[in-house]
Amino acid sequence: MKLELDRVTKRYTHRKRDVTALRETTFGVAENEFVSLVGISGCGKSTLLSLVAGLHRPSGGTILLDGSEVRGPGADRGVVFQTYTLLPWLTARQNIEFALKETRSGESRPAERARDLLHEVGLGDFTDAYPHQLSGGMRQRVAIARVLAYRPEVLLMDEPFGALDALTRTLMQELLMKVWEEHKLTVLFVTHDINEAVFLSDRAIVMSRNEDRFLTDVRIDLPRPRTTDVLQTPRFRELSAELLGLVRDEARAASHF
């Protein structure tokens, strides 16, 4: 296993009350595997991702990357945030060069690598654009190019397309598929969008606050490479329905329908 989580928990104190953000969670992600974490808001999926990223420390359990315990953040895990996190004072190309420099990637030709990757995500004409001149989808493409640039072992994505409109989101999913196949990436992808999880993943892990079936691991056996055509297949609808069934009862309970 590339990434292994063993009974990882996260508790914190909020207004003198103990809150369990994540109960004992155990699963693994294999090399080059695309795994989604699906669940409604508050199920702990983003918490889990931040623990793997090393941005917070788990209260219990261990996280292993290539057999070594994760004790803090590092460039071996690339994170794509929902908020893009581009530095507004740098152009698209400079944002990538910044990451190459700060990760000490040892890239001999940072400017060229930045240009190549921007070209790959379809932003070849926007290398010198500032983030504010780009649309949300374009910004997230820069962020993806930026994280690819320094070649992390694992890609962690926290609802990266959550702030985008539906049409752009579909295009971004296709782009991510292409990039994933090209770069042979290991991905842990957090989303609340069931179709997105089914379309992208090898496995979808449904997280729930329900104690009996807290984690449900669903293998997505759709053939690869995938294009949007797969959305029309019966198997896709079946898998979506299955995931929806797992999430829906709880979503309903949580929103008081």
Partner: protein, 273 residues
């Protein structure tokens, strides 16, 4: 006749979200200035107010001309500008690093912020006698008055600017494996810089007020000193002339920093506006 539906929008210049061209804006602003000057000219022309209270525009212009011609104005301006720049630089050089720390590090925040919040409400004017005891009538006394008046509010504004840099950018830096110190310098400081330059511009404006406070009491030179001379000899037109000079110089320094802001941070301007 067709009946209309909906509440008609008011004209652009009057409604709460209206836009106006630059030309219209400038014209109206010039009109406001003109109106004040006209009221002034009218009052003195009628002669209802003694010259000692309100000198004519011509007399003020004359006083300004005389001060400029014999070099007093340039001398006063030079001395006052030096005082402002020295004191302002001393305030900024301390406030920016302290603000950077207090805005991001809890320990520094706890030690610095409450103290600064208390200090900013201490009346600066009340410190003037103290500064004279401490520093006599030396230049350092003027620096001290300006520094006390500027440093604390500037520090608090810098703290705010630093806090406004998003936590997600800090997280991003962490995921690159950057150290906290490096994130502070390369991301937080840089991200807060536009706000800090703006805070510097605003606090430079206050400097002019504290300069005059310092120069009115224990000075033998400078713009504020010249105003006390005007008072002593009842040369009201000289006081008016120097107050106007202070206004103009303050406005120019403000515009200069605005220009610097626009030049340094082009990425803040929305495209297509």
């Amino acid at each position: 006749m067709t009946r209309s539906k909906g509440r008609p929008l008011r004209p652009e210049l009057l409604r709460i979200d209206g836009r106006a061209g630059r030309g219209v804006h400038l014209l109206l602003s010039a009109l406001a200035f003109g109106a004040v000057l006209a009221a002034w000219a009218l009052t003195t022309a009628v002669g209802s107010v003694p010259d000692i209270y309100l000198p004519s525009i011509g007399a003020v212009a004359g006083a300004l001309r005389d001060a400029a011609a014999d070099g007093t104005l340039a001398g006063d301006l030079g001395i006052s500008l030096t005082r402002i720049l020295v004191a302002f630089a001393l305030a900024a050089v301390v406030a920016v690093p302290l603000g950077l720390l207090a805005g991001r590090i809890r320990l520094a925040d706890a030690l610095i912020t409450p103290l600064a919040e208390f200090a900013r409400y201490l009346p600066v004017v009340a410190f003037v006698p103290l500064t004279i005891i401490w520093a006599g009538t030396e230049e350092s006394q003027k620096y001290l008055v300006i520094w006390i008046g500027t440093f604390f509010p500037l520090l608090l504004m810098v703290i705010d600017d630093v806090r406004r840099v998003g936590a997600d950018l800090v997280d991003f830096g962490r995921t690159l494996g950057m150290t906290d110190g490096r994130i502070l310098r390369r991301i937080v400081m840089r991200g807060a810089l536009p706000g800090i330059v703006d805070s510097l511009r605003i606090s430079l404006g206050w400097c002019w007020t504290w300069l005059v406070v310092g120069e009115l009491v224990a000075a033998t030179s400078g713009l504020g000193y010249r105003i006390t001379i005007g008072q002593r000899y009842l040369e009201t037109e000289l006081i008016f002339a120097y107050i106007l000079v202070l206004g103009v110089v303050g406005l120019l320094s403000d515009q200069a920093l605005r220009l610097l802001h626009r030049t340094l941070f082009p990425y803040l301007r929305e495209s297509g506006r």
